[in-house]
């Protein structure tokens, strides 16, 4: 494991002293043509931690998250899982490592039903030889989907409705439910509650807490500062494609966070 370009941050691992971070990004650079969306971004999540990733619009949060999920491959820098450098060439690799993501643009298949979307890529097959041929157990998936959505308090006409017919919030619920069902290690949520109603939002935050209590790690992107302070253990701030600050949620106020995001003050501690 080559010395990472952002080795400086190694000195900050103190707050999770005994084990390496579950998921870590070091010095990630990602360019789109002549736009440099990430310019050496660092990011760390420890086991059982809820880390909020915040930043201004266009700061590079979604890009960083796509890099952590294998959607984008970074131009420079490395990703580590449990301290070991890995290469996520495709989202499959990230999922294998137990990283489950809700994308800001949702990434659902409009023509498929709610149930099919929830189980997409992880279909339940019939037992026996037919199952080995790839025969779907549609009934089991419908029931599973109905239960999962019920748990999130989502009101959806029925689980066989195609996603195309849902409201914005309903779609987001489906995407969130999907990630939550399948996560085993890290759940990454990119603005998961942006379109959700009050009740649904509360449920999602509930689920996040339960996931953390079950030992999972959660990465939460959000522009809702009170929400972040309520739920996050730690906050990492991204500005212009770089980490601008790492803060403990119980030590800061909304104003501190805003200041860190906009760069109007120098509360940042790790910035080079």
């Amino acid at each position: 494991m080559a010395t990472s370009p952002s080795a400086v941050s190694d000195g900050d691992q103190r707050h999770v002293p005994d084990e390496p971070p579950v998921l870590e990004a070091r010095g990630i650079v990602k360019r789109f043509g002549h736009v440099e969306a990430l310019r050496g971004a660092d990011f760390t999540v420890g086991r059982g931690e809820v880390v909020a990733l915040i930043g201004d619009n266009g700061a590079g949060k979604s890009t960083l998250i796509k890099t952590l999920s294998g959607v984008h491959t970074p131009d420079e820098g490395e990703i580590r899982v449990g301290g070991v450098a890995v290469r996520f060439a495709t989202p499959v690799d990230a999922r294998r490592a137990g990283v489950e993501t809700v994308y800001q643009d949702l990434a659902v298949a409009d023509d498929l039903s709610v149930a099919a979307n929830l189980y997409l890529g992880r279909e339940i097959l019939r037992s026996g030889p037919l199952g080995r041929l790839g025969l779907l157990d549609k009934r089991a998936m419908r029931q599973g989907a109905a239960e999962a959505l019920d748990q999130l308090g989502v009101r959806i006409p029925r689980v066989t409705t195609p996603i195309a017919m849902l409201s914005g919030g309903q779609r987001q619920c489906v995407a969130v439910a999907r990630a939550i069902i399948w996560a085993t290690n890290v759940v990454i949520l990119d603005e998961p509650t942006a379109a959700l109603g009050v009740v649904q939002t509360a449920r999602v935050l509930d689920v996040v807490r339960r996931a953390r209590d079950a030992g999972m790690s959660v990465v939460l992107v959000s522009h809702n500062m009170p929400q972040i302070l309520e739920i996050a253990d730690r906050v990492e701030v991204l500005r212009l494609g770089r980490r601008a600050a790492r803060l403990r949620a119980d030590e800061v106020t909304t104003d501190d966070l805003v200041a860190a995001m906009t760069g109007s003050t120098s509360v940042e501690r790790d910035e080079r």
Binding site: A109, G134, V159
Partner: protein, 335 residues
């Protein structure tokens, strides 16, 4: 209209779900099927020869190849792709099948395997061009169409492959208890592909990719591998179709299948497939194929000249899709 309450999903009975799903599918094929029935009745009245066993037998055999290849096309269309190379590939497969029988003395079964292999290979080329080289399907298969036809001409020297044994005709001209063998194969293929698309994971992924390729990829579907698989399977069917076509005329014809792609795409779209991907079913496609075949058959029975036939086919294509669109708009599922 009994408004369905926006009840929590869990309360919905599985049976109701099934029923609804079934009804909504049935409606989707409704237009094409209605058109088919109307045309059928009209022709039965207009021509005394239409409703004869012989004629229906002929229509079945004539449509078999189109229907098989249209099923292949439907799979590709569902993924949001298109396969323009079906005609060339069918010709290539048929010609190769004929050559191995004539020159290498292959038995029919082995020759059919070779033809299917040729189709699969062409499908693999299409699939790799689309997935690995990331060439849009229209262009990838346009290239295959051109290159494939060139290959047919090169290997045949542009001459039909003749001098085949009688047994070569079995696939295209044989029959089982009075039913053309080709129709039986078509039925098996149609049921098989329909089952694959609606009941298996392979089918689920096919729809998912056509609906939103990026979402499919992020959901952990190996879209490259799977999409290639769809093209290969389509190629297999096209190869089979090409072999049946060759068998039907007991020779390998280098000119076979020119502009076949338009017919089969029309069949799929008339049957409810969307060229934007994510939608389409085999039942509909088969209905679409028979609708076109019936128009052609009826035109000859009524001695309508080819010129008017073309106008009529054009109008029927418009009409079928118009009514289908109209029906969908009322559902406004894409609002």
């Amino acid at each position: 209209m009994s408004a369905v309450e926006a009840t929590p999903a869990a309360r919905d009975g599985v049976f109701t779900d099934r029923l609804r799903e079934w009804v909504s599918h049935a409606v989707a094929e409704f237009t094409a099927a209605t058109a088919l029935v109307v045309l059928f009745i009209a022709l039965s009245i207009a021509s005394p020869y239409f409703l004869t066993a012989d004629n229906l037998f002929n229509i079945g055999a004539q449509t078999a190849v189109i229907a098989i290849i249209a099923a292949a096309q439907t799979m590709v269309i569902i993924t949001g792709g298109i396969d323009l190379s079906v005609g060339s590939v069918a010709a290539l497969a048929g010609v190769t099948g004929a050559i191995v029988v004539r020159d290498l003395g292959f038995p029919l079964l082995a020759a059919t395997a070779v033809a299917i292999g040729v189709g699969a290979l062409a499908g693999l080329v299409n699939g790799l061009l689309v997935t690995v080289a990331r060439i849009p399907p229209f262009i990838a298969t346009l290239g295959t169409m051109s290159a494939g036809r060139g290959l047919v001409f090169i290997i045949t020297g542009a001459v039909g492959v003749y001098g085949l044994p009688r047994s070569f005709q079995l696939l295209g001209n044989g029959e089982i208890v009075g039913i053309p063998f080709a129709v039986v194969i078509t039925a098996v293929v149609a049921v098989g592909v329909a089952f694959l698309l609606s009941q298996t994971r392979f089918g689920q992924y096919t729809y998912a990719m056509g609906s939103n390729l990026e979402a499919a990829r992020r959901s952990g579907i190996r879209v490259g591998r799977h999409l290639t698989g769809v093209y290969v399977l389509a190629g297999v069917l096209v190869g089979l179709g090409g072999m049946i076509a060759a068998s039907r005329v007991n020779s390998g014809q280098p000119n076979y299948g020119i502009s076949l792609e338009l017919d089969v795409i029309a069949a799929a779209v008339i049957g409810g497939a969307s060229l934007f991907g994510g939608q389409g079913r085999i039942v509909g496609t088969i209905i679409g194929a028979f609708l076109i075949a019936l128009v052609r058959n009826g035109a000859v029975l009524l001695d309508i000249s080819i010129h008017y036939q073309q106008v009529i086919v054009g109008v029927i294509i418009w009409a079928a899709v118009y009514f289908d669109q109209y029906r969908r708009r009322r559902l406004e599922s894409r609002g």
